[in-house]
Symmetry: C2
Subunit: 337 residues, 2 copies
DNA sequence: CTGAAAGCGCTTACAG
DNA sequence: CTGAAAGCGCTTACAG
């Protein structure tokens, strides 16, 4: 491997001078610069970032801890993180923990040892111990989670309002009996917000019927399975808003497989605007969560914090959401109940 | 930040001794070890991997260059890469190039400077210049691509056989007129293999009809759009095998949207076994490509090569595929043509 | 504008 | 079993 020493020797200058031309950090005479550049080109010299990192104490590395990259929304967030990172010359050290607290702890240690300059954590819920550990790392961090705990730096959308607006949209479409399909029995903070938004809309419209089902999980299969029971109550409501798109599609499919028609027999709304919602038929009406932007904004805040030399990010930021109107929701005639 | 020096001073030993207990690299007296361990615990000392990396010349970093993480199959491959990496204590430096050759070049440089020990490249096609550059890096690398060029290290499945078997399956289901939906006009090596497998099956069964359409791309929208034309020929064939699942679903949806029934009016087979194929209705019959395994096996080969201190991986490996029989393909009655 | 020197935080022969 | 010393490949005051 050719090092800065070799370049200096070959160019007949000191390593200081070589360093200066590489980094453009201080004035160098045109002649010296040219000689150095020539040698660099000839030898194919590339500075060793590890050595540089050791002396500058800058790694330009951001650790990103996710549970599962195969979730499309996670990939979207990571995409946002990466794009912004690239703009500022930061690189991503990717860590998938697959919901294991031990893996998360191990990665946190690792990121510390590798001198990562900041950490982004993406996941449904994080253990208090993990949160504590992140804080103790004493570097900037930011969370994207469904269970927002006290004084965590968080970026996302206003779930109460989103759920409220979606429910209102269904009401405007003529629905009077609207149920909600949640994820876990034990509600995360975000889940609570969604349910409150849903209830608020019903209440404001003086609708008496309300019903919160739980799928027992967040995945397609959870909704597909629990849907087998829910289907028995299907005459009680004409529409259902689901806590996420996977649940919505799982529910839609069990209904379809049991020969119900969506949206003719029942309207379904999702939450998240996962890519797949546009691929299924009927296409899914859903709340648009700007995952890419969430990643991008998080990363920008993180990098700004790092650059300013601060240790922690103060603000909790809420991004705008959208209501994606597609055709899993039907407008009810007035004569129909 | 507490360094090895601080630990040494506090424990009353030399930094050599501290290093030895951290790395368990040489015998240390129990008393010394205990003192050191105690100080480490008290101070929360964590070794700086950057410094360590500089002297050991080992980064334990593998660069992974992908185009777009949001493609589920890419995420699957990365998942395999990461899991195996974790087993060997290697970390992933993630680089998404979004099909930009410039970005790929930039990342290659970066990975070199960061002293990555190996590189995995995942993408549809790579420019010759990129391939050359990868080789010049003089570190182990491996490709997953759809356009396999001479002496590239590649891991994947036998596409000729997979396509051949899928076509045969359709034939066994009673289909006589089977068309193929390819991606680009200009065929990649893998695309050629698929088409040859398709033609071989037809030929062996003495079926005269054959027809290769092209979608002009690999995404859902390409098939959805080109499907508008293909639909005009729909009476010519009873089944279609598509070059990937996104195309299959795009085609399926345009047919559905134009009120054709799948599989009653036409059977559709995909390729890849993307997660989404199980979410759509009808569920997609498809070729199962073991993306997770492809990532895992690639990574294992790469790491073995690194550990053995070799510069290049010799073998090209083919992994087993499956035929996922779901219900987008219908068995034709004998009386029906 | 330039170079010699110190130093970043480690590991590892080497000598004892 | 232990420590002093050299060195990994850089950057950056410092002095000129």
């Amino acid at each position: 491997m050719v090092t800065i020493k070799d370049v200096a020797r070959l160019a007949g200058v000191s390593i200081s001078t070589v360093s200066r031309v590489i980094n453009d950090s201080k004035p160098v005479s045109p002649e010296a610069r040219e000689k150095v550049l020539k040698v660099i080109k000839e030898t194919g010299y590339k500075p060793n970032d590890v050595a540089r990192s050791l002396v500058t104490k800058r790694s330009y590395l951001i650790g990103v801890i996710v549970n599962n990259l195969a979730n499309t929304y996670v990939a979207e967030i990571v995409r946002g993180i990466e794009e912004i990172g690239k703009m500022y010359d930061y690189d991503i050290l990717l860590c998938s923990s697959y919901f294991s607290k031990e893996a998360q702890q191990k990665y946190l240690q690792l990121l510390d040892r590798k001198q990562a300059e900041g950490i982004v954590l993406v996941g449904y819920d994080f253990d208090d111990e993990i949160i504590e550990q992140v804080k103790n790392l004493n570097k900037p961090y930011i969370f994207f989670t469904r269970n927002i705990k006290n004084n965590i730096n968080y970026i996302g959308i206003d779930h109460f309002s989103a759920s409220y607006e979606m429910t209102n949209y269904l009401i405007r479409q003529g629905h009077r009996n609207i149920a909600f399909l949640g994820d876990f029995e034990e509600r995360s903070s975000v889940e609570k917000d969604k349910i409150e938004g849903y209830l608020k809309a019903l209440q404001e419209n003086e609708l008496e019927y309300n019903m919160v089902y739980t799928a027992g999980g967040r995945r397609y299969s959870h909704a597909y399975e629990s849907g087998k029971e829910i289907v028995k109550d299907i005459n009680n409501f004409t529409a259902m808003v689901c806590s996420n798109d996977e649940l919505a599609i799982g529910l839609m499919n069990i209904l379809l497989d049991k020969n119900y028609k969506v949206p003719d027999d029942i309207s379904i709304a999702g939450y998240g605007n996962y890519q797949i919602g546009q691929y299924v038929r009927p296409q899914l009406t859903t709340v648009g969560e700007p995952f890419y932007d969430i990643g991008a904004v998080s990363m920008r805040m993180l990098i700004k914090t790092i650059i300013k030399g601060e240790k922690s990010i103060s603000n909790v930021m809420e991004l705008p959401f959208t209501i994606e109107k597609r055709n899993s929701v039907k407008k009810l005639d007035d004569n129909k109940k």
